[in-house]
């Protein structure tokens, strides 16, 4: 078997590298099993994680049995894997190069590149390397050619890739292999570049590749050094910020939910969705995280994207958009792929794109309102967009919708959706009172805000259960109710919020630090605990539903579920602690960052220090 194993590794065994335009997943075994080029949402070039036979992969590892350990070079997204077998030690360094603007102006650099540097640090090691790309979801014809000077060229419709390497690769049937022996001190280079819109810029290997690596390390170190968080969880926070930055599509400012598609929320099940889009739902919390850590440029770019890239559909907002603000593609099933460990179907595109989800309006307004909190300007066109959104919410807040969890079931009145409509109204009133929204019918906005509040307090509260409920006049809770305190609808230390918190823990608790998002007899079996909900619970405690120590202890319990690189997926299997769902998940890392920030703020308050 070319892949070397019957199944893809556990999701948590992957690490991510990227260049803020696309990202690759690399397993502990040195196999690059996921990459979409040139952008996050482009068709795949490597996707063995979804089908080890047809998806395509690029492995560099020692032959035979080995042990390995890995890490990111400190404060970077450069991945280092060290393999050890009976004969020697091999170090593999993986990155997708990034450069600062000044360097790019003075040097010709590849438009898209994956750089892999392999070095034998002790003894000697025979390589087991396979290069087997499968462009465009493995569905297009591929032409292979090779020349000594210019490496291996793989050409397909509309583009191609070129692998330059000082290893001896042997061309075989639709793949290339290398079984070179490296001895202590040997250092070899593999540079894969994309050829798409113009002639490729190639990488001459050797010292040039070392300089490329140095530039990349330095770029990430400089970026990480801007992180203003200095609390006790700095290592986790910086790793989360780095993961989030990888999902930040620099050319437009959008942030993708995750770089992958169809990694299952339930192993062997059908909850397999494409997350390579930008969900407006993630907006306000992502902006909070970026501003909170001091990454103002990224936060402002994202708000700019939110307000202006979505103008084709405004005032109506869709659930998700592509990287450049277009409507996400329709959902397709790739029947020929087996899916991650037989989790079928493999889907690309996302059918939730046309759902009505009223919470997105509150998210966008709340994100934009943070400009004021950080003394940034809200220009006239942004103010016009916000007024339009406000008007839309006033007219539509009473409609039932799909809600935050996007079930493929009939619309209902979700408490969280109404909460976010209240947030939209509340933030607009605040902006008006600060003089930032003129020509605004603030009295009507206040009136609607009050109506929504009354409805949540009556229809969304169950006296018998002593809890807010997931849907109006219901009995069940879901984890999104924790947002009632976060969005200042109700104080976290109020009796209603505390009893709701207890009810959520009682009904949705899945083990130490873990929470399900909801429990539904039809949908939930086999599904994992939801990453961000676990952090919401800790944050709710930090906001006042518990003591600082309780909140910190809860937070640490959740942190323990990160993989060895500090990365989180969408969900966590309560039985094994394994990662489930698309990976790494921006939303979960946003939850981690915001909880750490809230904890730090609470600690400062308790020490009597001024707010950050």
């Amino acid at each position: 078997m070319l892949y070397g194993s019957d199944v893809a590794p556990a999701i948590g065994e992957y690490g991510i590298i990227g260049d803020c335009r696309s990202a690759a997943l690399i397993s502990r075994h040195g196999s690059l099993d996921w990459l979409c080029w040139p952008w996050f949402d482009s068709p795949t070039l490597f996707a063995a994680i979804l089908d080890i036979e047809k998806g395509g992969f690029w492995r560099i590892a020692p032959q035979g049995e080995f042990t390995c350990r890995r890490r990111y070079l400190p404060d970077t997204n450069v991945l280092e894997t060290e393999f050890q077998n009976g004969t020697g030690t091999l170090r593999l360094t993986d990155c997708m190069p990034v450069y600062d603007d000044a360097y790019e102006r003075k040097h010709m650099v590849a438009d898209r590149e994956v750089l892999r540097i392999v070095e034998c640090t002790a003894g000697e090691v025979r390589l087991d390397a396979v290069f087997a790309p499968a462009p465009k979801y493995g569905a297009c014809k591929v032409r292979w050619s090779s020349s000594k000077a210019l490496g291996i060229r793989v050409e397909f419709v509309g583009a191609g890739v070129r692998l330059l390497s000082d290893l001896d690769w042997i061309l075989r049937d639709r793949h290339a292999t290398c079984d070179a022996v490296l001895r202590a001190g040997d250092r070899r280079y593999c540079s894969l570049v994309l050829m798409e819109k113009g002639p490729a810029v190639l990488s001459p290997l050797g010292a040039f590749s070392d300089e490329t690596l140095r530039q990349t390390v330095s770029w990430w170190e400089r970026w990480s050094s801007r992180c203003e968080y200095d609390g006790p969880h700095r290592e986790h926070v910086v790793r989360s910020a780095l993961a989030l930055k990888l999902l930040n599509f620099t050319p437009s400012g959008a942030v993708v939910a995750a770089p992958t598609a169809s990694l299952p929320e339930r192993l062997g099940g059908d909850l397999n969705w494409d997350y390579r889009f930008c969900w407006l739902r993630d907006a306000s919390m992502t902006v909070t995280a970026m501003f909170g850590l001091g990454y103002h440029d990224e936060a402002e770019a994202f708000i700019e994207w939110l307000l202006h890239s979505t103008n084709l559909t405004q005032p109506r907002l869709l659930v998700m958009y592509t990287l450049y603000g277009k409507q996400a593609g329709g959902e397709q099933e790739l029947d020929r792929w087996s899916g991650y460990r037989n989790s079928r179907p493999v889907r690309v595109g996302n059918g939730a794109r046309s759902q009505l989800q009223l919470d997105v309006y509150g998210e966008v307004v709340s994100a934009a309102a943070q400009l004021d909190e950080y003394d940034k300007n809200i220009d006239r066109s942004s103010a016009r967009v916000l007024r339009g959104i406000g008007k839309y919410v006033r007219q539509h807040w009473q409609l039932p919708d799909k809600g935050i969890w996007e079930p493929r079931t009939p619309d209902m009145h979700h408490t969280h959706s109404k909460l976010m409509c209240w947030v939209a109204m509340n933030k607009l009133v605040q902006l008006h009172e600060r003089g930032l929204l003129k020509k605004h019918d603030v009295e009507r906005v206040k009136e609607v805000r009050e109506k929504i509040r009354q409805q949540i307090e009556t229809e969304g509260w169950n006296e018998q259960e002593q809890s807010y409920t997931a849907i109006f006049q219901g009995r069940e809770v879901d984890s999104s109710l924790l947002m009632l305190a976060k969005h200042e609808f109700i104080p976290a230390d109020s009796s209603r919020m505390r009893s709701t918190y207890r009810k959520i823990q009682e009904k949705l608790g899945a083990g130490p630090g873990l929470l399900y998002r909801y429990r539904d007899p039809k949908m939930s079996p086999g599904e994992g605990a939801f990453g961000i909900c676990c952090f919401w619970a800790a944050e709710c405690l930090a906001l006042g539903a518990g003591t600082l120590d309780e909140a910190d202890a809860e937070f640490r319990k959740v942190l323990a579920y990160a993989n060895d690189l500090g990365l989180f997926g969408e969900e966590i299997d309560p039985a094994t602690g394994a990662v489930l769902g698309n990976f790494p998940q921006g939303f979960t890392h946003v939850g981690l960052i915001n909880t750490a920030l809230t904890l730090a703020e609470r600690a400062r308050r308790e020490k009597g220090q001024p707010a950050a």
Binding site: R105, A149, E155, V157, A159, G160, L164, P199, L202
Partner: protein, 159 residues
Amino acid sequence: MITIHWGHWIFWGFVASVALVSAESAAQGLGLTRLNLPYILGSIFTPDRDRARALGLILHIFIGWGFSCFYVVAMQFIGGPTWYNGVIIGVAHAAFIVLIALQAMPGIHPRMASETHGPTSTRLLEPPGFLGLNYGITTPMAIFVTHVIFGAIIGAFYR
């Protein structure tokens, strides 16, 4: 006796040159070729990708404009300016580019890698290769089509 109607040449030469650049850009956009002459020309003078594209675009239009003068002159030797005579010269021009100019490019371009020695620290740009096939299998076709359009416009409208 060769006569050139300068006003006509300036106008239609410019139109043809813009049409040529537009057609080449469309061919790239459609994935027919990765031959990006503005970028290749501009990168002779600067490594900055964006500046190279902008500078190269201007250069390419001016060079095309200049070349149209040769078309005007050449058509007088084969029966005068008609669209089909323009096409004939366009085909000849494209053949020259595909068979000779592209092959010679790594020797001329200071930032283009050599087909035989590969990239170096200063020569990083992928060379076009035989018939420009490194830039895609339909590159020769794209070159012929765009130059036929160029020639046809000059032949049809220059008087």
